[in-house]
Structure formats: C-alpha cells, structure tokens
Symmetry: C3
Subunit: 211 residues, 3 copies
C-alpha cells in the first residue's frame, strides 16, 4: 500500500469511528439508556465490525487494544453527542450522509486487511462487509431491535458492490489507491441513492407461522 | 481418524451447512428481511457454531476462511430457498428431519475437534454442543426471538446425550468411527423422537417479577 | 502478584462464577426456559465476560477450557438453584449483595490480566469492566431484554470507578494487593449504595422517532 493511501485510510478510519459512535449514541438515546450505557453502545457500534474481523482472522490483540486513540475518538464523539443533544435536534439526514462515508471506509479497509491475509475473494467480500456492518448489527441487538440493516436498507448491499469493484479493479491490474477509492465512491454513492431516492432490495416474505 | 470417517464427516458437514442455511433463510423470511438479510442470517446460522468453537480454542483463521466452499454451499442453498419458496410452501417437517441429521454431524464434529485439541470431557461436551446449537441461537437473537433451543425443544439435550455416548465408547476402547456414528445416531434419533413424539425437558418457571 | 493475593483471587473467582451462574439461572426461570436452557444461560452469564476478554486479547484457548472446575461450579450452582427454587422464593436482595462482590472480583481480575498483557490504562479499564459486565449483557440479550446494565443501573460505572482507583494506586507505588483490594471495596461499596440508596447515573432520553 503506498504511503498516501495508508495515511488517508487511517484518518478516514478515525472519522468513520466518530460517525459510527455518534450513530450508536443516538440509538441509545432513543432507548433511554443511562450515560454509561450510551458509551457502551457507542463503543460497540464503532469498533464491533473490525473487532469481529480481527477475531475471525486471528489478528489478536484486536486493533483497538494496541491503538487506544480509537477509544479517545469514541469518547469525544459520545460526549459531544450527549451535550449537543441537550440543546439541539440531531441532524439525522446529515448523519446518514456521514454514515455513508464511514461505511465506505470501513468496508474497503476490512477488505484490504482480509486480502493482505491472503483470503479468497469471497472471504474478502464477507470480511469487508462485516467490518462495515457488524457494529450496527450489535447496536441493534443490544437495543432489542431486529437489525435495521437486515430488514430494509440498501446497506450491506452497497458495501458488497463496492468491495466487488475494488477486487475487480485490483485483478484488472489497477493500483491499490485507484481500486480502493473507486470502491469507496461506489459504496457511498449507492448509500446516498438509497437515502435520497429510496433504492431497495426485494423483501423475502413468508407467513409468520410456527415452525 | 481413519480416512473414510474423515471423508464422510466432510461431506456430511457440507450437507449440514446446507440444511442449517435453509433453516436460517426460512426464519429470515418469516421476519420479512430483504434478500441480503436472508443471506446474512443463512450464513450465521450455518457457520456460527463452528466459528465460536474455533475462536474459543484459538484455531484461527476460523474454518470457513480457508475453506470458501462452505460459503458457496450456503449461497446455493439460500438461492434455492428464495426461488423455491416463491412457488411452494416450505416442507417444514422434512426440514426438521434434515436438521436432526445436521445437528448430529455438527455436534460430533465439534466434539472430535475439541477432543483432538486435548480438552477434558466436559469441555468436549460443551464445545460439541455449541458447534451444533450456537448458529441457531444467533439466528434467533438476530431475528429478535428468545432462542427456541433454550425454551422448549429437546435439542441441545440430544446433542449432549450423543456426545456423552461418543466419549463413553472412545474411553471403552471402541474405534473412532464406531463411536462417532453411534453418537450421531443417538442425536438424530432423540431429535426425531422429539419432533414426532413431543419428547421434552421439564421447564423452570419463575414468576416474571422485577429483579 | 504475590501468592496470597493470587489464591484469594482464585477462590473469589470461583465464588463470583457461582453467584453469576445463580443470577443467570434465575433470569432463565423468569422466561420459562427448560432445564438445559437454564444451564446455558447460567454458563454464559458466569463465563461470558472473561471469555470475550480472552478472545480480544488473543489468550486462547480461553480460560475455562483448560480449567474445567469453573464449569463444575456453574453446574453445581445451577442445580442448587433449580432445586432450591422449587420450595423457596429466591432471596433476591441477598443475591444482589453477592453479585456486588462478584462484580468487584471479576472487574479487578480482568483489569489485572489486561494490565499484565501490557495494555494502556484505558484498555485496562475497558477490559476489566467488560469482564465484569459482559456476561450479564449476553444473558439479557438471550432472554430478549434490553440489557439492564445499560438502562438504569449503577453497575458498569461501579466497575469503572474501582478499576480507576486500582490503576491510580498502582501508579502511586502501592503494592498490587492493596491496590486490588481497594478497587474491589470501592466497586462493592458503590453497588451496595446503588442497591440500598438508589444511586444512579443520569439518563440520555431522545424521542423514539424513526431514524
């Protein structure tokens, strides 16, 4: 990986962590958790995906244990959310847009890590997607919701599409920066289309009968 | 492990993965998830138990990361379920029977792995049972149900009984194939008795008061 | 770590495991799980926190796999709960008090392990807290509750306060035993104040609107 892509991904990763922490803190607020609960949900939303990826690959201690700056960013973002929300309505649309870029970064970073561990393409897709979406799934499980991502959002699908583009460009001989940025742009673009145009996948609907 | 048992377990493992993926996809359909959500639930149901076993033992990367054929099987089984269910009612009773054999295979495979890692018998029982049932538990948590397995099914109990038989026969000097097949037959038999005869464990019932 | 602290922590750890197993079994009873489900919930409540800590740090196989006495203690405690509860009302207040001491032990033991793995102070706080509270969180997720700990209890906060005191005393040059006992006393004391005096954190309350 060349140096500028590396630096960009690191900065982007910290920004993504901040955005995901805010989304976790807001979800916790809708469930009336206490302050500590808000921090817990913010932490798992922000680092949950990367943590599961690292544990599956055997990259332990997991990434944030040797890089506590992730946790400082999460704490700062959560404190900011707690105080900002006392006086203002949260700007949900802007957060969704920020979240689209967070997802793009996390998914491609996760895909790169899986790829550099020598995984096959389908594993790269799965671990990259998981890095992007697992934090939000744990957030929804802890706040007792069926994960939104699984229900009706064009979310993991956006991540998968971008990772496939990234893998395709790499195999076609493009360099890592071009492949990574193209993948990220596709992910963010698809998410923005989903947010502003209502792009969705078909639903699989069975009658809710006893199994 | 002799070669024919090994081959049998590998084929059986892939079949078990397919059955568990179908059961996950059908559970997702009862909750109206979108197609991607259906795939996610199918994957975690099928590989969740073995993944947790591998992470507890430190066998990483976990099994499916270096064997992507598990994921191809899951994708094929899920696609088949999506298309089959458009035109037909799912054959729930047949699936329960298939699931009984999937459980038998997963539990004994998990027990063998724990045993070959040198674990004591109680750990062999727990890791084998977990390999068989944890995927279904995660499926139920993600679809916001109290895991069925914990509530009223003679399910984990069947796995435990079969693993105990397997361990007992091994200690009595029987060879691995006989012990493994006997354990699997007991598990599948107990499950079939539970499905067709309503075999159950007693329930522990406390009043639902504030703690 | 000097020998007497080590022995004390080991005995305390087993007692903490028993108390947490009982709390898990009672939660399972309030949801009418069958006996096996009760055991499962007891096990995850008792060893869940330490298991996640070990997986995050890469200390595998996780602690109970090579120390099956933890599971024997859990089984004994669960059986005791099942039989005791047939004839008696569970003494919930006494259990909360026992739980306060269990939390104190688990949190400080987890913090010591993280510290001896060379982690920075913030990671020591997080892994220690997680060792104390994650079991209860998994228990609540499996029984389909929003984790109580996140909602309104002065629980994780007590653990964090005690771990910070422990770290502070260590850096100030006190020996490990004094630091560990002081941390445990603060955790148990804060929990008892929460139980008997209603000590709480402020709640973060947002309207429950669609995001």
């Amino acid at each position: 990986m060349n140096f500028s892509l590396q630096s960009f991904l690191y900065i982007g990763d910290l920004l993504g962590v901040a955005v995901f922490a805010i989304s976790g803190a807001l979800a916790a607020g809708r469930k009336s958790l206490d302050w500590l609960g808000v921090f817990v949900i913010a932490v798992v939303t922000a680092v949950g995906g990367g943590t599961i990826r690292d544990m599956l690959l055997g990259r332990q201690p997991v990434f944030w244990i040797d890089n506590p700056e992730y946790l400082y960013v999460i704490f700062a973002a959560t404190l900011f959310t707690l105080f900002y929300s006392r006086y203002n309505k949260p700007p949900l649309k802007s957060l969704l847009v920020a979240d689209a870029f967070g997802l793009a970064l996390f998914a491609i970073i996760g895909a790169r890590i899986a790829e550099q561990a020598g995984s096959e393409w389908i594993i790269v897709v799965i671990l990259g997607t998981m890095t992007g979406v697992a934090g939000g799934i744990i957030r929804d499980v802890l706040t007792n919701e069926i994960p939104l991502i699984l229900r009706r959002d064009f979310y993991a699908t956006a991540a998968i599409s971008g990772i496939l583009l990234y893998i395709g460009l790499l195999s076609a001989g493009f360099n890592a920066s071009i492949a990574a940025f193209s993948g990220m742009i596709l992910i963010a673009g698809l998410r923005l289309a989903a947010i502003f145009k209502g792009l969705r996948l078909p639903v699989f609907q069975l009658p809710d009968e006893p199994s």
